[in-house]
Symmetry: C2
Subunit: 209 residues, 2 copies
Amino acid sequence: MSAQISGKAIKRLILYHYILSDCLLKGNEYISSQQIAELLKIDDSQVRKDIALCAASGKSNVGYNTKELKKSIEQLLGFKAQKAAFILGAGNLGSALAKHTDFADYGLDIIALFDNDPAKIDTLLNGKKIYPLSELHHVATHEQLVNKRKVEIAILTVPASAAQNSAELLVHAQIKYIWNFTPVVLSVPEDVRVCNENLVGNFLDFTNS
Amino acid sequence: MSAQISGKAIKRLILYHYILSDCLLKGNEYISSQQIAELLKIDDSQVRKDIALCAASGKSNVGYNTKELKKSIEQLLGFKAQKAAFILGAGNLGSALAKHTDFADYGLDIIALFDNDPAKIDTLLNGKKIYPLSELHHVATHEQLVNKRKVEIAILTVPASAAQNSAELLVHAQIKYIWNFTPVVLSVPEDVRVCNENLVGNFLDFTNS
């Protein structure tokens, strides 16, 4: 994906993609920027500006071809370039994310889960195996050597008390991106990036505005 | 909470609160803005600016009193003013959010869940009862009349195919804020606010930057 696209534009483009998917399901061949803008309660000119990033062009009077615009967004945001990821913590949240059908469509390929609960180990979740946390480094190495897949992303959904230790296992396994759903600020080396999925902050920001 | 605080500042203050909670657990009585800044890999001056919003003052050489700063953030962000909320969809994600111990600490009081699975109805999840979706309006009215609690917030974690119908039930039950975790752009009246928890967008923004 081009690094020129702002985070806000990426998030809007994903919402346009949701709308376009829904239009296709309903058999709507065309959609206008006004229709998208109204659904999202944003300005029409913003929608047109974002869509211009895809180099998609609308026809006057009928709008954009739904199927083509959907494909353009997929190309722009690079959904086809699947990125391999682990999930640490196979509780409710980890399970929900593992089953998130969207993720594969949007380029996030979850290949294994890790947990310390003996009852969960070696079971499958949405077709993905659950390993003990102690095997993280081993599984990562195996993926790289045998399956030629470098796993650089991990989704952290372990309990708060296990968060920092898990982060250290991830660093040891050469994970470069940690998507952190725990309420813990992780201490990691400079070259490891952490994205804090701050649900509490999102909620407070939302109900405060 | 003051409407003057930006969304970004709110999210940083929540992260400081996580750090302070951890410090208290470890028995650290003081923390400096530099220590917070280093953990979050952000600028020290940003931390001091945010903390100034709380009217908390540090002592030179020792830093901020952990317990006092934690309390100041709680007051600033209004954690004590509990807001009542429903969760629609008691699957993995809904269950994870219902069990999210943090939410109550940060002012979000989940009082009931709704689902259409007969096996789940009338069971308890983290002490909260699961009702059929058809009872949403009734439960909301009961909360207002009997328990004197106006429920204005709903968390939507139903399957995509049920999202718009659920949103319409919420509008009918006079919910004013919908925290939408589904991959669907909801069509709702002007006075209902929707916050799209765009996990896919957050992921793409994170790994693109």
